[in-house]
Symmetry: C2
Subunit: 332 residues, 2 copies
C-alpha cells in the first residue's frame, strides 16, 4: 500500500508535529514522551485531570480529544503499541501533585498493564490517581475469553466526552470513577470491516478478506472477527450489528440511547451517513428514543474500510447534557 | 469496490437522511430538493444568507458547513452532478424576499451555469441575489484552458468560513461579494492522488494509477492531473505541491498565510498529519508567517486516496480572525 509517510520509524513523531502545527495555540507537545496536553493544564483550577491514550493508528483518538470539556492529556504509543509505563507516568507528572488524575484505559492486556504500572508508580510518588477501563466491544459471544476480548474501542470517545464535561463541572475523582463505570456498563460497540488495516510497520495485513467480503466483530488492531460473509448492502450490515446490540441490551420501546457511527479509517462520510440512515430506520422500528447521534471518523484502525456502531443507554439525563456540552477538542 | 451503501439511485437521499438524523436539532432538511439549511434561517435578523452546494461525493462539503458562522443553506446534487437550477432556486426561495442572498459557486462549467440560471430566475422574482465563483485550483499551467480549468476545490471551505463569519457580523451583500473576491484572489490549491475515486454510479474509475504511483493536479471528480510519478515519500509530495504554490505566490519571507491540508476521502489522519508536518518544515525554511492551519477531511472525492494543499495569503488581519471565529457547523 502507498502511504503518505516518510520513514516508518518516525511516523508518530511526524504525525504529532503535524497536529501540533495545527493546534499550538491551545495545546502543548512533549516530544520526548509523545504527550499532547492542554496548554492551560496548570490553570484548570482543581478540576480532575483526565488522561487517556494508546497506540497510534487510531487517529483522531486520542489526541484529537484534548481540550476544554474532554481530555487534558493524551499519551501516544507507536503504531498499535500502547504507551510505555514511563510515558504514562510522565503524563501524570505533568500535573501538580495536589491534583487528582483519572486514567481512561482501553481494555487491551498490554494497555491495561502499562497504565496500571504507571498508576502504581505515581501513587508511590504520593500522587492521587485512579482509573476506569473501557470494554465496550461486544463482538465476541460469551465464552471463556469473553472478558479478555471485550476490548475498548470507539465507545471510548463517548466516555471521554461525558467524563470531560463532568470533570469541568467539578466532579471529584471518586465521582468521576463511579460515573465512568456506570457509563461503561451501558456502552456497547460492534464493528465490521470491508478491508484489513495495513500497518506500515508490518509486511502483511493482519487478516485477509476477499473482495466484496464483510468481516463482523473485528478489533481495531486487526484482531479477527466472528464471521465473514459476502457483502450485500449497508442495510444488511446495519441489521447484523443492530440485532447483536439488541440481544445485549434487551431494550424496550422508548428506551433512551446515544449512538455513535464511526468510520474505521478509510470509510468516506457518504457511506457513514448512508449506514447511519439504516440505523435510524431500525431505531424507529424498535421505537427507541434516540437522544444523541454522532457520525464521523472518531477512532480508527489506520486505513481499514469499515464502520463501528456504539450504543450507550442513557440512564441519567445528565449524560445526554454532557454529550451535548460545548467542547474545544479538535476532532469531537 | 465494496461500498457501504444500498441502492445507488437513492444514495444521496440516504446520506442526507443520515446527516439529518445526527443534526435535526439544528438543521432542517428539504427532501424534495435535497436542501440542508439552518433551522433558525428565518430568525437570523437581516444577515445575508450564504448558499453553496454542488454534486455529492465531496462530503462533508457542503452540508457539513451549514451552521451559525458559516453557510445558511447547502444544495446537494447527485454524485458528481451539480444541483439543478430548480434546486438552487428552491434554496433561494427558502429565504424571505426582503433578505439578500450570496451564492458561493465552485468553478465548474455545469455548476456555474446552473447556479447563475437560478440567480437570474430569482432576480425575476424580485429577489436580491449575487454570487462569487471559487477557482482556487492552480494545478494546470497557464495555457488556453487555464481559466476554464481553474476549478473550485478544497479552498472553498475557507471561503465559506470567512464569508460566514463576516455575514454574521453584518456585512452587506456588496461587502461580502467584494470580500469573497479578494479572498478567492489570494487562495490557491493543488491536489495529489494515490488512487482514483470509485463512483458507484459508474462502472469504471475515472483514471487508473499503478500501485505506488502518485498523480499530481487531479480534480475532485476524477479530472486528470498534470503528471504521474512513482510515489517515494510524503516529503516528495509536499515539496512538489509547495513549490508549485511558491511559483504562483512568489512569496517573501514573513508573508502571512493560512493553510488547509485536506484528505481527499480515504486518507487516514495519520497520513494527513505526517504530510502537514512536511509542509510545516517547508514553511519554516521559507520563513513564512503561518497564522492559521486546518488539517482534516474537508472536501473530498468519494474514496480517493490523496491530499490537497490550500494556501491563502492573508491580506487583512480580519481574515485570520474570521477563520478562527466560533462556528456551529458539523464538520469545520
Amino acid at each position: 500500500m502507498t502511504k503518505i509517510i516518510n520513514d516508518v520509524q518516525n511516523i508518530v513523531c511526524h504525525m504529532l508535529q503535524g497536529f501540533y502545527f495545527e493546534h499550538k495555540d491551545r495545546v502543548s507537545y512533549n516530544e520526548k514522551y509523545n504527550l499532547i496536553f492542554r496548554k492551560d493544564l496548570a490553570d484548570m483550577d482543581q478540576q480532575v485531570v483526565l488522561i487517556s491514550g494508546g497506540g497510534s493508528g487510531h487517529e483522531p483518538a486520542d489526541f484529537g480529544y484534548v481540550g476544554d470539556g474532554m481530555l487534558s492529556v493524551a499519551v501516544v504509543g507507536e503504531i498499535f503499541v500502547p504507551p510505555t509505563p514511563e510515558q504514562v507516568l510522565e503524563a501524570i507528572r505533568l500535573v501538580d501533585r495536589s491534583r487528582s488524575v483519572l486514567l481512561i484505559i482501553k481494555n487491551f492486556t498490554a494497555d491495561v498493564g502499562n497504565f496500571l504500572t504507571a498508576e502504581a508508580l505515581a501513587k508511590e510518588e504520593g500522587r492521587t490517581v485512579d482509573h476506569v477501563i473501557v470494554n465496550d466491544d461486544v463482538s465476541i459471544e460469551n465464552d471463556v475469553t469473553y472478558n479478555k476480548r471485550r476490548r475498548g474501542v470507539a465507545g471510548t470517545v463517548l466516555v471521554h466526552k461525558i467524563l470531560g464535561a463532568a470533570a469541568r463541572e467539578g466532579y471529584t475523582l471518586e465521582q468521576l470513577k463511579e460515573l465512568g463505570e456506570q457509563v461503561i456498563g451501558r456502552l456497547h460497540t460492534l464493528g465490521v470491516a470491508l478491508s484489513p488495516a495495513n500497518d506500515p510497520t508490518k509486511d502483511e495485513p493482519s487478516f485477509t478478506l476477499q473482495k466484496n467480503e464483510a468481516y463482523y466483530g473485528v478489533g481495531i488492531h486487526g484482531e479477527k472477527g466472528y464471521r465473514k460473509e459476502v457483502f450485500s448492502s449497508s442495510e444488511k450490515l446495519a441489521v447484523e450489528l443492530f440485532n447483536k446490540l439488541k440481544s445485549v441490551y434487551r431494550w424496550r420501546r422508548q428506551d433512551p440511547f446515544a449512538i455513535l457511527v464511526n468510520g474505521l479509517g478509510a470509510t468516506p462520510l457518504v457511506e457513514q451517513y448512508a449506514f447511519a440512515n439504516d440505523i435510524r430506520r431500525l431505531c424507529e422500528l424498535e421505537s427507541l428514543d434516540v437522544r444523541f447521534v454522532k457520525i464521523g471518523t472518531h477512532l480508527t484502525s489506520l486505513d481499514m474500510e469499515g464502520i463501528s456502531l456504539s450504543f450507550l443507554k442513557i440512564e441519567d439525563p445528565r449524560w445526554e447534557a454532557w454529550l451535548k456540552a460545548d467542547v474545544e477538542a479538535a476532532k469531537w
